[in-house]
């Protein structure tokens, strides 16, 4: 293999692919990246056997070939080179690199031993703008459960319906739902649960491409295969296993009616909760008093070791007064994913969930269960 390409391009491709590689002791080749030439381009692949990422970059291919190189070493080395032409040449199981005043020889492993990343040949379910996908997924991705005990909620649900994609994530204490509308003609009815890690990678890669001002407005194809999903970003592909199982029927837990509504300014609420969180107890418990006369929300936190704090925010209150305790982290997670100036809270009693929605945007719903004192 003999290639000449630009440092900038190579660096970006390495950044994209290298992140999923962890330290794998049983199969050392998994710590490597696979470099191959394909259709006059350089293809870089990585996998941890759950996710596979493939990135293509342009360059001058003088001689086709392939090799695997330890990912961390290669990306650290390339990252520190000047943005000039890089010449790569494979000799046996070594990669010789040359860039301006730098020269290096990297020991690799045979490409034959590198896991084969599965291919998905089905037709795409949908095409969607990368920016839209990224923004919407980021609003729910944090809410997934981290525990292994319930695999089906350790991922993000993507439910494709006519004209909408519903995204949902929950860890059984709180839940976020986001509805993306699309105008694809063919009606699709498909649901899949995608591991949180995959979604995080997808968001990161989309972000990286956005930052590089690359393929603005480029569409992402989502393709469903046998137990796998492929996100095709054009010159990057992410392939991941799906999580088996039935996602809980979360719609039924979203209350439709509320006895109390409170509307207030989001940034104020965030600020006051942050202050209160300094005084919260072991379970991040912060108490909320929603008062109608005068109309305000009082936020109170107390810890025996630290002290106590109380603050008030003006709000528009409709319905009954209520006292309720929440884990302030859960509330903040929701508020931080809302973009609007004002938010509306809907409550029923101190043992049923509170709903948080942006004012003027029906597509996002955040639900939190209270703490029972």
């Amino acid at each position: 293999m003999q290639i000449i390409c630009l440092q900038e391009n190579l660096k970006q491709a390495l950044n994209i692919t290298e992140r999923i590689i962890g330290r794998n002791l049983t199969l050392p080749i998994l710590n490597n990246l696979l470099l191959t030439t394909e259709n006059n381009r350089l293809k870089i692949s990585s996998t941890n056997l759950e996710i596979g990422i493939i990135s293509w970059i342009n360059g001058k291919i003088e001689k086709p070939g392939e090799i695997t190189i330890p990912a961390k070493l290669l990306s650290n080395f390339i990252g520190n080179l000047p943005n000039k032409k890089i010449e790569m040449r494979v000799k046996g199981s070594q990669l010789h690199l040359k860039c301006e005043n730098f020269k290096a020889v990297l020991n690799g492993l045979e490409a034959k031993e590198f896991p084969i990343i599965p291919k998905i040949k089905d037709k795409p379910l949908i095409r969607i703008k990368g920016g839209v996908l990224k923004a919407n997924l980021s609003q729910v991705v944090e809410m997934t459960s981290l525990s292994d005990s319930r695999p089906e909620i350790s991922g993000v649900l993507m439910n494709f319906e006519k004209n909408t994609i519903k995204l949902a994530a929950t860890d059984s204490f709180r839940l976020a739902e986001k509805i993306i509308s699309h105008n694809q003609k063919e009606s699709i009815n498909q649901a899949m649960i995608i591991p949180q890690k995959t979604i995080q990678e997808l968001i990161r890669i989309l972000g990286e491409k956005e930052a590089a001002n690359d393929n603005q407005g480029q569409e992402v194809e989502i393709i469903l295969g046998n137990n796998q999903v492929l996100f095709n970003l054009g010159d990057v592909q992410i392939i991941s296993r799906l999580i088996e199982g039935q996602y809980p029927d979360y719609q039924q837990i979203i209350p439709k009616n509320f006895t109390t509504h409170a509307t207030l300014i989001r940034t104020e609420l965030i600020n006051n909760i942050r202050v209160a969180s300094l005084f919260s107890g072991k379970v991040n418990n912060v108490q909320f008093f929603i008062r109608s006369k005068p109309a305000l929300i009082e936020i109170f936190a107390k810890d025996i070791d630290v002290g106590e704090n109380k603050s008030q925010i003006e709000a528009k209150i409709e319905g009954k007064e209520i006292e309720i305790v929440f884990n302030c982290r859960y509330i903040l997670d929701g508020l931080n994913n809302i973009m609007s100036d004002k938010v509306i809270l809907g409550l029923n009693n101190n043992s049923s969930p509170v709903i948080i929605k942006p004012v003027g945007d029906a597509s996002y719903t955040y639900l939190v269960m209270p703490i029972k004192a």
């Binding site: 049983t26 759950e50 525990s147 292994d148 059984s172 796998q228």
Partner: protein, 452 residues
């Protein structure tokens, strides 16, 4: 040679030919899915493994399988259901500290929506003692011989003794064993409310087939359909349809079919047609065992003495037993002290020394009359019809037992009878209670109502 052995043999050979690391990575969680006409289908955990085995190790596997079983012509790979590989990023298992404040979660997620079953109830955590072994054995038998051995299975026993646990355990066991079977668990109260809903919305057409298409119907607390005629009629038809198709029906109640008043005879006789098993009150040893189990489940360190103490004092009801344990746990955690006998005594004092509800002669008569559906006046009158005489004797027995009245005063109060009549009644019923377990339960039920 079964498939498991065949695969193990093949793996043994494969292991010799490839490196340890490769073997562990690629052959973990694989198995033979099926073998038919010389085609072996191998289940693999994910797409990567499938690609790798297909492309790299196909030959080795083929050779190894051929060696053990020469008629194999082809191998195929399919992605089966397996737990995901351990995530590379290690998340520390969050150890939830038990504090007095409890973060609530969405409870609905824990219930399987299709079957209505809560997976926390299993046979494994069902504790068996002499008081419930018949019911447990019958339940287990049902899971092995679905619809043929005991149909219907009727389980009865007092409140908080584990009927629901047993019923749900059957359901859960079955969903695990045969996921294709349609299992439906519901309480009779829910059945009624769905029926009412269907009638009011004119949706009977969809209601009727809903429960006639299941393979296993589990109805909890059937006694609540007593007196609801339309529900009984609809249930009767559902029952018949299922029964004729050899579908399993499992029913629970707080009393035997005979003792459910205002239930139609045709239903009653059907309930009695299969197997009737009872759950009575647990003995001391079982109560202690249950407590031990619960404490272990909750990771709570507590000495046997204390468990014995609780078991000794909370006697009637497993739910109360759990409640007592929970209370002790909570108090110990708030005060941050390990449980000791003295403290436990204090904590339990209000649970144990629950003031025995006072009852009086009038209540006894009224309850007995209601239980047997006879008129209070008839009970006191001189009437000697058989259906009145027995309740009268039971009433006299209960007055003596519960109120410790003298025989002459009992006779006096019940229609001015002679004290010897009261003595005779008392003796007769007492003896029957001792000899007849069924009858004893009946009496216990009346007592429950009296104090309930």
């Amino acid at each position: 040679m079964n498939l498991k052995n065949l695969w193990q043999g093949a793996l043994g050979e494969v292991e010799l030919n490839i490196s340890k690391a490769n073997f562990i990575t690629w052959f973990k969680n694989t198995e033979i899915h099926s073998k038919k006409d010389g085609v072996v289908i191998i289940n693999v955990p994910n797409g990567f493994t499938k690609e790798w085995l297909e492309n790299k190790y196909n030959k080795i596997i083929f050779k190894a399988l051929r060696g053990a079983c020469p008629d194999i012509k082809e191998i195929q790979f399919t992605i089966g259901k397996y737990p995901p590989l351990k995530p590379t990023a290690k998340y520390k298992k969050e150890i939830q500290e038990i504090t007095p404040e409890k973060q609530l979660d969405f409870e609905e997620f824990n219930i399987n929506k299709e079957t209505n079953l809560n997976p926390k109830y299993t046979f494994d955590n069902f504790i068996i003692g002499s008081f419930n072994e018949l019911a447990q054995a019958a339940a287990l038998a049902v899971t092995k011989h679905l619809g043929t051995l005991y149909n219907p299975l009727f389980i009865y026993g007092g409140t908080g003794l584990g009927k629901t646990h047993l019923l749900q355990a059957i359901g859960n066991e079955l969903t695990q064993k045969n996921p294709s079977k349609k299992i439906q668990y519901l309480s009779s109260e829910k059945y009624t409310s769905e029926l009412v809903d269907a009638i009011s919305k004119k949706g009977m057409e969809s209601f009727k087939p809903k429960y006639r298409k299941v393979d296993v119907l589990i109805i909890d607390d059937i006694h609540f359909i007593a007196g609801k005629e339309k529900t009984q009629e609809e249930f009767f038809h559902t029952f018949n349809t299922l029964y004729q198709k050899n579908k399993q029906i499992i029913i629970s109640s707080d009393r035997p079919p005979k003792a459910i008043s205002t239930i139609e005879d045709r239903l009653r006789s059907r309930f009695e047609g299969g197997m009737i098993a009872d759950i009575s009150q647990p003995d001391l040893e079982t109560r202690t065992a249950i407590l031990k189990n619960k404490a272990r489940e909750k990771n709570f360190e507590i000495s046997d003495d204390i468990l014995n103490h609780i078991a000794n004092h909370v006697q009637k009801n497993i739910r109360e037993l759990e409640g007592a344990l929970n209370k002790i746990m909570a108090v110990c955690q708030i005060n941050n002290t390990p449980p000791n006998l003295e403290g436990v005594g204090k904590i339990l004092s209000n649970l144990i020394a629950k003031p025995k509800k006072m009852t009086n002669f009038k209540d006894v008569i009224k309850t007995v009359a209601e239980f047997y559906d006879v008129n209070i006046n008839d009970l006191i009158d001189r009437c000697r019809r058989k259906e009145v005489v027995r309740p009268r004797q039971i009433a006299m027995y209960l007055i003596r037992e519960e109120l410790n009245s003298s025989f002459p005063s009992i006779g006096e109060k019940i229609g001015g009878r002679d004290h010897t009549t009261a003595m005779y009644s008392y003796g007769k019923i007492k003896q029957e209670v001792q000899n007849n377990e069924l009858f004893k339960q009946e009496i216990n039920l009346i007592k429950d109502r009296l104090y309930g």
